[in-house]
Amino acid sequence: MQTTAVNGANYLTYQGKYKGLLGWIFSTDHKRIGLLYLYSIATMFTTGVLLGLAMKFELLAPGKTIMEAQTYNSVFTVHGVIMIFMVVVPGLPAVFGNLMLPIMIGARDVAFPKLNLLSWWLYVSGVFLVLAALLFGKGSPDTGWTFYAPYSFKTGTNMLPAIFGAFVLGFSSILTGLNFLVTIHRLRCKGMKWMKLPLFVWTLYGTAWIQLLATPVVGITLVLVALERVFGVGIFDPALGGDPILYQHLFWIYSHPAVYIMILPAMGAISEIIPTFSQKHIFGYKAIIASTMAIAFVGYLVWGHHMFTAGMSGTAQYYFSLLTFIVAIPSAIKVFNWISTLYKGSINIQTPFYWAVSFIFVFMIGGLSGLVLGALATDVHVHDTAFVVAHFHYIVFGGTGFAFFAAMHYWFPKIFGRMYDKAWANTGWLVFFVGFLALYTPMFYLGMMGMPRRYYDYLEEFHGGNILSTFGSWVLATGFIIIVVNLVRSARKGAPAEANPWHGRTLEWTVPSPPPVLNFDKEPVIGENDGPYNYE
């Protein structure tokens, strides 16, 4: 049993069993763990962005610009591994889920606080393991983030630590999911019925199931690749009878649902922000829940759309293509819900709102381009081209990334108890958004024209589009710097924030900013007529 001296302090300032930094890295307080994740993920994101900028610089002109082909291979691999496994997969759940989930359901903490801390430690260990692959051994991994067999056990580069690191990161993700599931099942406060849960909580619930049920599959698959490297077991090795396409099946059985791990909580955050800034009840609360669970479930059934050109049977191709089109429906339902919520709302235009609306815009383009990839005939044409790169950056970056920034600006006053400079925040958003469009939109075009992905070089005819794209990456980087500098400064020096600056209706806005150590003085009770989005 822990005893904590509170001295009227909030979770940021209280003094627990340990002092200083130790009081953070050994804290089991869900809010502190959320912040630990925020700082670690921000660090990794920045690293990933730097690698992305380096690639874009390389692609400024045909031929070698700043790096060799092999270096480029390593850079896109490490960029992909960092961005996927360390940034967008943990992303919103680990940061805002940890910070807000217990408060939103009226609980004092997650169900297993110590396990929660363990998740973070595993995350950090995974990060260091992957980084070890870069520093030691014979060159950093060059397989792409997908670790495809048989190259992943034939390449001479230092794969083992990277694979092991990805495994540990997966374990961390599983434990977070497990924790959230139990928390949502067991720790809702009195009157917080399932149909009164905020939508962010619902999306975390769906996400947690995917984390739990999909991650083990990739875990064991990565273990098999490691065993293949060490012992030559033969399971994925065509020379010994293994089938490399089976590797792809197993990899995507995880990695397709994983894109829903990335996007569902993002949709959840948007579903919080849109009603708050429209001052209106969310349109189609139940439809959003249903579509969330439908996405989580159908998302399991469509993995093969990553393998249309790999040599699957025709039957499987038809099936996967059909289901891919079906899984697009629930996402579209959500877009309609958000738009309908805006309709006739009294809209309060603030930074989180800008982010949310640009999210909808970018997400829609990303989603529609996904249908191009999900259709058998067109996919053959654009598979493994810059079109794919544009598509998934629109979704994961324009989707999850924008939603992350939206959530950051939305909950910032709650988390730090201070308000950021709104003018700078809006400027940052605008620059970032313009940079984003300039960076990725040309890639759609380049891909259509046939520029392949994962090459450090290209034909002269692609030069124009690449110059625009690289230029966009600089604009985006400028926007990123503005945003980060503004937030960091405001976290320390911003004007004190009220408890409920946006007039939100969910529980986290009823507690002081920043929240007290135990969240609530006494357990809240939700009345029969209260709901998460009850606006008059």
Partner: protein
């Protein structure tokens, strides 16, 4: 939550379940030793499924658990089945 009393399963029931499990084990060894061709695997798996049903329900107390836990377990097995079936959409029709 010490208030919630658990259902105490008598020792004897566990023993009976064990006997059933052992009987099924020997039955499956026996049935696979006769020549059934393609049905050998099916038979062996059938016995395995009955056995796992007993383990889940009695040893793992699912029988006495709240419905939502049962639903979750069913759901997980369903997901696994779906995974196999879909993968075979590829291999069966190559």
């Amino acid at each position: 939550m010490s208030g919630e009393k658990h259902h105490i399963v008598p020792y004897r029931l566990y023993f009976v379940v064990l006997i059933a499990l052992l009987a099924l084990t020997f039955a499956s060894v026996w049935i696979t030793s006769i020549e059934l061709r393609d049905y050998t695997v099916a038979a062996a798996l059938l016995f395995a499924i009955v056995k796992s049903y007993l383990v889940l329900n009695y040893f793992m107390h699912l029988k006495y658990d709240k419905p939502y836990i049962k639903i979750m377990v069913g759901f997980v097995f369903a997901i696994f089945l779906v995974m196999i079936v879909i993968t075979f959409l590829d291999y069966l029709y190559r």
